[in-house]
């Protein structure tokens, strides 16, 4: 396979002038003062080497300021490396700043041609693609109105449509999917999926680890301008999460975004992540998701089918999750999670992990999660319910710890721990 993109020991240094002489006067004064203390060097990248094969989708992850965006800007040639070499084979298009150079007084149509030419397209090429662009943006008759009357979402759509119409060999994406409404995001993802199927090379920079996992076959983890990890997406993301998790527990401060991501990841993977008791603290309920399917309510029913919120150990527990699908959804995955009131993640099953395949959802309905006999011991519990797409990367609706129920002692007299684990005792005396 041919290499589409290669970094060979690339370093990028920024020089930050705290008091840069921006005029001749300052320059002259500075010359006499011999004041060089105001110069500071910042290495955004240091000796970064990697290669991307043609047709590969590479993700770049890392905390803010790790050099992700600098890498993309080096590929697009907005910046030049301080040392090292960058080889780019093919036409590059960057979804970095959508609609750069849009002029508010010009119409959408004029802006399409202006923006297209900024991206290096010729007039004939633009004319051919114009209809396709307008169709993708769904702007219709707005296309002949001045851009200043557009909503920011409309401008985004226009920018995205133009940038992807370039038909690049290498597509660079930087966080653009974080903007725009959900429907538009899905449309963008679909178009990016098209690119991938057509064997284009994609470099994707994001904080959204779930999207990275969904899109990328390989991931590079940058930290402080150096490569900390490289390999398969799941593996590197797990490494990264462990790292930021450790850091967070050290600092006793998890950014809410990351926390949410971690929670989402747990749910996606569909397995309980071992949490040391020190970290298990009750968390406030929250909700997220794109809402093509909505979870409308969750009911708890006892063995006779009556609503209740208190169960006894060893009896039947049924949680009925009501949903409404606003459109036909193929192969959804439902999941639930049970937490004890002190934050311990007790269980987190989902339909996919249980091999319970659901071919589609349409309209209203409900799904029952039945546990019999209930092994939970006395205590108060929080309950999450969620519905995801099949790869478990896109939450349609996630209700995190929004419900609660109580468990009281039943026939089983166990009182210590989390679970009643059926068991026998056998005593032997002598030998």
């Amino acid at each position: 396979m041919a290499t589409a993109l290669g970094f060979e020991k690339v370093s990028k240094r920024f020089i930050i002038h705290h008091q840069r002489p921006r005029s001749f006067q300052e320059l002259t004064v500075g010359f006499f003062k011999r004041n060089n203390a105001s110069r500071e060097e910042l290495w955004a990248l240091r000796d970064v080497s990697f290669a991307v094969e043609r047709g590969q989708t590479l993700g770049i992850i890392g905390p803010n300021g790790s050099g992700k965006s600098t890498s993309l800007k080096l590929i697009t040639r907005i910046l030049e490396p301080t040392s090292g070499g960058i080889a780019v084979n093919g036409k590059v298009s960057a979804l970095i700043e959508l609609g750069a150079g849009f002029h508010p007084d010009l119409t959408g149509r004029d802006n399409v041609f202006l923006n297209g030419s900024i991206l290096g397209m010729g007039r004939r090429e633009m004319k051919q693609k114009f209809d396709e662009i307008v169709e993708f943006t769904e702007l219709g008759r707005f296309i002949d109105m001045p851009l200043k009357h557009y909503s920011s979402g409309m401008q985004m759509r226009l920018g995205f449509a133009i940038a992807t119409s370039v038909d690049p060999d290498i597509l660079l994406i930087d966080e653009v999917l974080a903007v725009g409404d959900e429907a538009f995001q899905r449309k963008c993802l679909r178009r990016i999926g098209d690119f991938r199927r057509r064997g284009k090379t994609i470099v994707f920079v994001s904080h959204g680890l779930d999207v990275v996992r969904e899109l990328c076959s390989e991931v590079i983890w940058l930290d402080g301008g150096v490569v900390r990890g490289r390999g398969g997406a799941d593996e590197v993301i797990a490494q990264y999460l462990r790292d930021i998790g450790e850091e967070a527990s050290l600092e006793q401060a998890i950014q809410s975004e990351e926390a949410e991501q971690m929670a989402a990841v747990e749910e996606e993977v569909g397995q309980a992540v071992e949490e040391p008791p020190a970290e298990a603290a009750p968390q406030p309920p929250s909700r997220w998701g794109s809402r093509e399917v909505e979870i409308t309510r969750v009911e708890f029913l006892d063995g006779r089918g009556n609503p209740c919120d208190t169960f006894r150990t060893g009896e039947r527990m049924l949680a009925r999750v009501h949903y409404v699908a606003h459109q036909r959804i193929e192969r959804p995955v439902f999941g639930v999670a049970i937490y004890r009131s002190d934050g311990i993640h007790v269980s987190g099953p989902n339909t996919k992990a249980s091999d319970y395949e659901i071919d589609y959802l349409e309209g209203e309905g409900s799904i029952d999660y039945i546990v019999e006999p209930l092994p939970l011991l006395e205590g108060e519990y929080q309950f999450s319910a969620a519905v995801y797409d099949y790869p478990c990367t896109r939450p349609y609706d996630h209700h995190e710890r929004m419900y609660s129920f109580e468990v009281r002692q039943g026939r089983v007299k166990d009182a210590y721990g989390v679970f009643y684990i059926p068991c026998e005792w056998r005593l032997r005396r002598g030998n």
């Binding site: 920024f14 002489p21 921006r22 005029s23 001749f24 006067q25 320059l27 800007k73 697009t76 040639r77 907005i78 910046l79 030049e80 960057a94 970095i96 700043e97 750069a100 150079g101 002029h103 007084d105 010009l106 041609f113 202006l114 297209g116 030419s117 900024i118 991206l119 290096g120 397209m121 010729g122 007039r123 633009m126």
Partner: protein
């Protein structure tokens, strides 16, 4: 060579930027693009009043005399002043998209050139109104314009780069252009100067040779000093090459300096 080929690939951008420039310039005024015709006439009137009524001189057909020099000078000064800030003013683009940066000063030069060509209509109307008989030497006009554009572009490339690193280049240039205006034979004849200074002016000021050539071929209908013109052409080319190399060397860091 690689850079030139890339520049050609981006010709559509140059065209769009020129169009945007021209649209923006005349969009919000009542007279619109007529201004590029009226403005030279008004300036001609001002100079004529000053130099025939207030300070009479013996120059024949003064309005033609002044207009032949004033129009090319306006082309020069508005291009230089416009392109000094062409990189810095487009920082939002430069930080976000890659394209050959020389597109920006080039499009400033070209949009001013379009303006000038429109204003030439006025010049020929005035020549006609004053019954100035054109001679075949007037056919040198395109060549003259070319020399001037080459020189201006070279200068623009240098100044727009300097302005990225030292923002007061633009301010200094305002004064420089005023001095340059007085040191170029626009409202006076070369012959009016002390001969020693006249020769010096020809040597150090390419614009002096260019502007007086305009006047010679149109107003006097005579042959310009071809040897001087040839030397000016070489100077202009040297400026363009130097400017292009200078610009090319520093345009790599525009992305982080603007």
């Amino acid at each position: 060579m690689e850079r030139l080929r890339e520049l050609i690939r981006y010709r559509e951008l140059v065209r769009n930027l020129v169009a945007r420039d021209l649209k923006a310039r005349y969009k919000s005024s009542v007279l619109g693009f007529l201004w590029c015709l009226v403005n030279p006439l008004l300036m001609m009137a001002v100079f004529t009043v000053v130099f025939t009524v207030l300070m009479p001189n013996d120059i024949e057909k003064f309005p033609v005399f002044i207009l032949c020099a004033l129009l090319p000078w306006n082309l020069f000064s508005s291009t230089v002043m416009g392109s000094v800030g062409s990189i810095v003013d487009n920082a939002h683009l430069i930080k976000k998209v890659y394209f050959p940066r020389e597109v920006l000063p080039i499009s400033t030069v070209l949009s001013n050139l379009v303006n000038f060509l429109l204003a030439l209509v006025v010049l020929f109307a005035v020549l006609f109104a004053f019954r100035v008989r054109l001679t075949p030497w007037a056919l040198l006009l395109p060549a003259l314009i070319l020399i001037q554009v080459i020189f201006t572009l070279g200068l623009s490339l240098i100044l727009s780069t300097l302005n990225v690193f030292y923002r007061d280049t633009g301010i200094i240039m305002e004064t420089v252009m005023l001095a340059w205006f007085f040191l170029t034979p626009i409202f006076y004849r070369m012959e009016d100067l002390v001969p020693r200074y006249a020769r010096l002016m020809y040597w150090v000021n390419p614009m002096a040779s260019i502007i007086s050539s305009y006047r010679v071929i149109l107003y006097s209908g005579a042959s310009p000093a071809l040897d001087f013109l040839a030397r000016t052409f070489v100077t202009a080319l040297a400026f363009l090459v130097a400017g292009y190399l200078f610009f090319g060397r520093y345009s790599r860091v525009f992305g982080e300096e603007v």
